[in-house]
Amino acid sequence: MATKISIQNLDLFYNEFQALHGISLEVPENQITAFIGPSGCGKSTCLKTLNRMNDMITGCRIEGKVTIDGEDIYDPRTDVNLLRRRAGMVFQKPNPFPMSVYDNIAYGPRVHGIKNKGQLDQVVEKSLRSAALWDEVKDRLKKSALGLSGGQQQRLCIARALAVDPDILLMDEPTSALDPISTQKIEDLLDELRGQYTVIIVTHNMQQAARISDRTAFFLLGEVVEFTETKLMFEQPKDERTERYITGRFG
């Protein structure tokens, strides 16, 4: 399996505080990789280094190397907007724009220069279908996206991310604000996206990681304790700390 994202010896500082310590990960292409770990262990921070959303935080500093398809994304010549287009992101709380469903999806393509109405219609329909939302919203494309339910909003956000045709999807606890049924739908959706996108999902829910991911990384205090196939991790964790965490005996 080819490596899509490679993180080598990544240290990340918020001013004086070091949030990540020497992270090294090889994320394989077109698989679902889960980041698990207790709160504040750096998994979301690590996720955000991959599309450089950390750039916006003042005092955030990075050492080490992150490459996508072999290109160093922290190289000064890197086009950050292009990077973010390639690595779509879905946030913890659904955050549709206060616009119509259609305009939400069309936002990304429009920003990247697609003006043709027919082409936009196509992209919108395709993205909504990929996010398994088309049937629910096809009659209300012109209505405000804020009128959708939380679960629909989150799938809309996934569709919005898919609309700019990324090859990576970064998901930061995408189901933590949703009810079980909506969560189920998102997990089903992820299952369908498997093989087409390289997905990294941060989750607090270990069952979720076990259900949907191919590989899992266990973070603790800013370090990666263990990174292996999900099945292996949950059945035969190598590290004692991993075992204690996944069996819920973490102290």
């Binding site: 599309n51 959303m53 973010r84 779509g88 946030f91 724009f97 936002y107």
Partner: protein
């Protein structure tokens, strides 16, 4: 055990105290009622002394004053009569209600009654003016102690009446009263403006007044179309210039400026709001007007609509900047993140997501700016040239506000009333602007509540 005893004792004590308050309040109420029948005001002029009781103020038609050249009936203004009658009724009502143990309503009535002497005081200035106009000089007004009895009795008994409800209710009532004072001022002002402005409009004729193109008070020609148009054009011009600058400044402050730079720029912009408008006028006279004169020496003396627009544009900046910045800051960070994560640049994010999301707030800021521009007087007087011409960019103009301010000091008769009528027109303009503002800001709230 002890505590319950204390509690019971405390309640007993409070009950006794409240009863005492109630009786004192009732007593004061009786004194107030009485005071209306006692001598209220003494007018002294031409060596003669007229003493009038409260009840006489309400029912006597007026004083027949024999002046040196002319004589006339000095009527007691309607406002005085109304407030006396109202005060008396309120005092009686309060007195009855406090005995019926309805302290809250009673307290409010006492308060209203206590305010009535203040209204009398305010309106009695009109009596003085009327007497003076008969060429009787040296008139004196003395307010007598029953007058103050009503005033103080009203205030004290209203507090006592409310106090019987416990401190919490007292506090609530005080808030209520102050709210009533604000609303009351608005209502009073509205009624006053309408009653002062309407007669002239009726006399001149609505269409002639609003659509008449010339303003010649000396010949009794009162057309204010040039002023209305100048006000509108001046305001629109200020908005067209000021809004883009203001919005972009706000974007700079909330989105792109480093915190340190924003900390320098923001107080500077806020300072603009605190500068007295006469200073803007100075700036306009000494800088803007000469520059315009030098740029178009053939066409203008400098004092012009253009100068007005420039000055107003600067004056509305702080309003627009601060309201816009506040609403930009209120846009959830999640919207910006979502946009940036889609690969949009910061500029695209600002113009396509953040500004549209804040649009209702921005619109509110613009409307507040409109309100400020329409109402501005002093700075405009100093740069407008103040001739009631139809508005042209380089010509001198007179706005509604300056029209009033220029002539109020010497106008009399219909001319004076016409100025009040201009005030009424201005008032209607401001009302419309404010209603618009309320409508839009409510709409904004609805959008965020979804």
């Amino acid at each position: 055990m002890d505590r319950t005893m204390d509690g019971q004792e405390g309640r007993e004590r409070e009950k006794r105290r409240n009863a005492a308050y109630r009786w004192i309040a009732a007593g004061l109420g009786a004194v107030m009622i009485l005071s209306f029948f006692l001598p209220y005001i003494t007018f002294v002029f031409r060596g003669l002394t007229y003493t009038v009781s409260g009840i006489q103020l309400a029912f006597v038609k007026g004083f027949w004053v024999v002046g040196p050249q002319q004589s006339g009936l000095v009527t007691i203004p309607l406002a005085v009569r109304a407030s006396i009658v109202l005060g008396l009724l309120c005092a009686v009502g309060g007195f009855v209600l406090i005995l019926l143990k309805k302290p809250v309503t009673a307290g409010l009535l006492f308060l209203l009654s206590g305010i009535s002497p203040l209204l009398v005081m305010a309106a009695s200035g009109a009596i003085q003016t009327a007497v003076t106009s008969l060429n009787v000089s040296q008139i004196e007004l003395q307010f007598l102690w029953p007058f103050f009895c009503t005033l103080l009795g009203g205030l004290i008994s209203s507090v006592l009446a409310l106090r019987t409800q416990g401190t919490e209710r007292l506090a609530e009532s005080v808030f209520q009263v102050f709210a009533c004072v604000s609303i009351g001022s608005v209502i009073l002002l509205t009624v006053y403006i309408i009653s002062a402005g309407l007669p002239a409009i009726l006399q001149i004729g609505l269409t002639q007044f609003l659509l008449g193109e010339s303003w010649r008070p000396a010949s009794d020609i009162f057309g204010i179309l040039p002023m209305i148009l100048s006000s509108i054009v001046g305001t629109i011009g200020a908005i067209v210039l000021g809004v883009p600058v203001g919005i972009l400044t706000a974007v700079f402050l909330s989105e792109t400026a480093s915190p340190r730079l924003a900390m320098l720029v923001r107080p500077a912009v806020e300072l603009l709001a605190g500068i007295p408008s006469v200073i803007y006028g100075f700036f306009g006279m000494l800088v803007v007007v000469p520059v315009i004169r030098n740029m178009f020496p053939e066409h203008t003396i400098g004092d012009s609509l253009l100068a007005v627009i420039l000055i107003l544009a600067i004056m509305i900046l702080p309003t627009i900047v601060s309201v816009t910045e506040t609403s930009l800051r209120a846009v959830p960070a999640a919207y910006r993140e979502a946009s940036l994560a889609l690969g949009a640049t910061q500029t695209e994010t600002i113009f396509k997501v953040t500004l549209p999301a804040a649009k209702s707030g921005i619109l509110a800021g613009v409307i507040l700016g409109v309100g400020r521009a329409i109402g501005e007087t002093m700075a405009v007087i100093m740069v407008a040239g103040n001739v009631a011409n139809m508005p042209t960019l380089l010509g001198t103009v007179r706005l509604l506000t300056t029209g009033i301010a220029m002539e109020m000091s010497y106008a009399s008769g219909l001319h004076r009333e016409a100025l009040f009528a201009i005030g009424l027109v201005l008032f209607v303009f401001i009302m419309i602007v404010n209603l618009l503002f309320n409508y839009i800001s409510k709409k904004g709230v609805q959008i965020h509540a979804e």
